[in-house]
Homo-oligomer: 355 residues x 2
DNA sequence: TAGCCCCTGGACAACGTTGTCACCGCCGGG
DNA sequence: CCCGGCGGTGACAACGTTGTCCAGGGGCTA
């Protein structure tokens, strides 16, 4: 009684506000043993219909709901998985997250997710918080490059699958899109349409996908025997200001690029804006973007993209995760999903005739 | 030993795979008491630097990580909140979810979220699962219209805030956008530009926002003394097929509508597609959409929209939730956030001169 | 030097559930 | 009539942590 707030003592004579009935309360009210309540709640066999009815009545009368915290502590499994990604608000990650959730749901698990905001420290903090909660598994879109901090957790049985980018300095399952191949295809496509001076606007070079896409760009250029000017490549944060500046510089150079390859959806959108704002040139600048985005087909011209199915990425990763949780052993696997070039017009524009 | 997998017995002599060290193990290894370990782990005062060092060493040596399940059970607070929305993959909910997450993070809480897929049963299932986990609070974008099932949970202390749509048949906090006002503004805007026959393409009439937007449409029309033909209003699922059919019917009628008001972002996008696919009419059809969406400004014409800030919606709801959790009392509140008309061209198109 | 207090550290119960095991009464068979 | 078995039920420990309480020792003051 001593820790009962004075004001609430009279309002709820039987139990304090915020205190919920437990199985013990239900048992007492139904006049049965604790374990019998447990059996009823979990649908275990071995309870007379009459007893069950009495217990059910007590449950509804008291508004009892099983405390899963205690259940989890006892059983050791939390039936929940963690998802750490860069930014839930990014249209690329929404479908991915939803796909992971659907798979989790099919396995009766809940999804706890957090955004790292591309900050390695925040990623680690989040991941370890999830480990402390003893999630059964983790799906991680890594922001950092060193995941050795995860080794003890994985050794302790927390299944982990990396998505979109591989783990750093540890061996772990990963599900990736074919950034190199997709990028190569895009640049080759532009070259096939006659372009020789192609600019690449990419994400921070430390990000695995950005590096791979740059590699694909270089590979396609060199396969075609084309030189790459330093001024044609710009890597950095994807905020509109930087992209805008970089794109403008490439387009206004003495020998301007005739085509642009944008390294991800945010960059593509900014480039579209930049191109739209410039006075219409005699020959429009060709553009291909990595990642598809809604309405890309409705712009004029439609934006040619390298599409990767982010939902499929998430689904594949979650499937792999649950296979691991179901006991699938073997060495860490790396799955690479293909990308697809969707021509819509902007990537098929020819270079100026003079070029 | 009997339940140790044969292959792992030799690899981990001291403990089975999947079993983690506990504070007891740490205490034993450090040669201190259990509670001392607890003090170190939680940064509580009253431990000599030397003792603390020994404990820290034992912690890293064993790879110990506090089991938050047990902590939660003991403390009664989970430091996590649940978010139930319709579809994480929807660009409207991504920013909302992210905003809720940020607020939660600022309060040291994790976010568990789930998609109801607009299915009341699934919503209830999810919400109750979250209650069983004893989340501290809930942010709900309701799919159903009867939330009496939540009453016992709320009485037991789970703070709950509804977003985007109010709760059904119970009294609860709600944060809404001004659907009626925004809708009214949109239609008035079209009327001001000379339109008399305006079509409304809305979501399922059971959804609160859809009903409110319809109400705003009717209000604006009747204020202007304009009649509303049955054929000008179409409510239903927002899948492209239905919207396409409905829009086409309105546009091909004997007395076709000269302007369309789309009830949400999915509808707007489909309508834009429909209009783009039709042979260009002498006078283009005016269009205003509820919800802003990326690239709306880059289409030609730009799409005039009624913008509601979904991130702000989420932030406001989460703020309110944590104020409740911090003990703020008082009656349930209903906050209504304003919408904003953003003219971009499509809503300013005049009707045909003959009209 | 005696007495007291503070500081550190540990023993123990409790959180609410589930798994194990034992008990009770009743049945059929010997 | 007794015994074995079985279906139904409950007592009890354990999961890993935190809060409460107490003990012991060292330093300080009177």
């Amino acid at each position: 009684m001593t820790d009962t707030a004075p004001g609430t003592a009279n309002r709820t004579p039987t139990r304090r506000y915020g205190t919920r009935p437990t199985m013990k309360d239900v048992a007492a009210r139904a006049g049965v043993g604790l374990k019998t309540v447990s059996r009823v709640v979990n649908g275990e066999p071995g309870v007379t219909p009459d007893t069950e009815r009495r217990v059910q009545e007590a449950i509804t009368a008291l508004g009892f709901r099983r405390n899963d915290s205690a259940r989890i502590l006892r059983k050791g499994r939390t039936a929940s998985i963690g998802l750490v990604l860069e930014d839930l608000a990014d249209p690329f990650y929404g479908p991915l997250s939803r796909a992971v959730e659907e798979v989790a749901r099919a396995h009766g698990a809940l999804l706890i997710n957090g955004s790292s905001a591309e900050d390695p420290e925040r990623e680690q903090e989040l991941v370890l918080a999830l480990c402390a909660r003893r999630v059964d598994g983790l799906v991680i879109i890594p922001a950092g490059h060193d995941h050795r901090y995860l080794a003890p957790e994985m050794a302790a049985g927390i299944a982990t699958v990396f998505v979109d980018r591989p783990a750093g300095r540890i061996d772990a399952d990963a599900v990736l899109a074919d950034s190199f191949g997709g990028s190569h295809d895009a640049v080759a496509h532009l070259i096939a349409h006659g372009h020789r001076r192609i600019g690449f606007l990419g994400d921070l070079p430390g990000i695995h996908t950005a590096a791979e896409r740059l590699r694909g760009y270089h590979a396609a250029m060199s396969e075609a025997g084309l030189p790459v000017h330093d001024a044609w490549v710009s890597l950095g944060p994807t905020d509109p200001e930087r992209v805008r500046t970089a794109a403008t510089a490439m387009l206004d150079a003495a020998e301007p690029v005739t085509a642009l390859f944008a390294g991800n959806n945010r960059v593509t959108v900014t480039v579209v804006r930049v191109l739209a704002e410039r006075p219409a040139p005699a020959t429009p600048v060709a553009l291909i973007g990595f990642d598809d985005f809604e309405l890309a087909d409705l712009l004029s011209p439609g934006i040619t993209v390298i599409a990767q199915d982010s939902a499929q990425l998430g689904r594949t990763a979650a499937d792999l995760l649950f296979r691991r949780l179901d006991g699938a052993g073997g060495d860490p696997r790396r799955l690479v999903l293909p990308t697809r070039l969707i021509p819509r017009g902007s990537g098929e524009l020819p270079p100026p005739a003079t070029s």
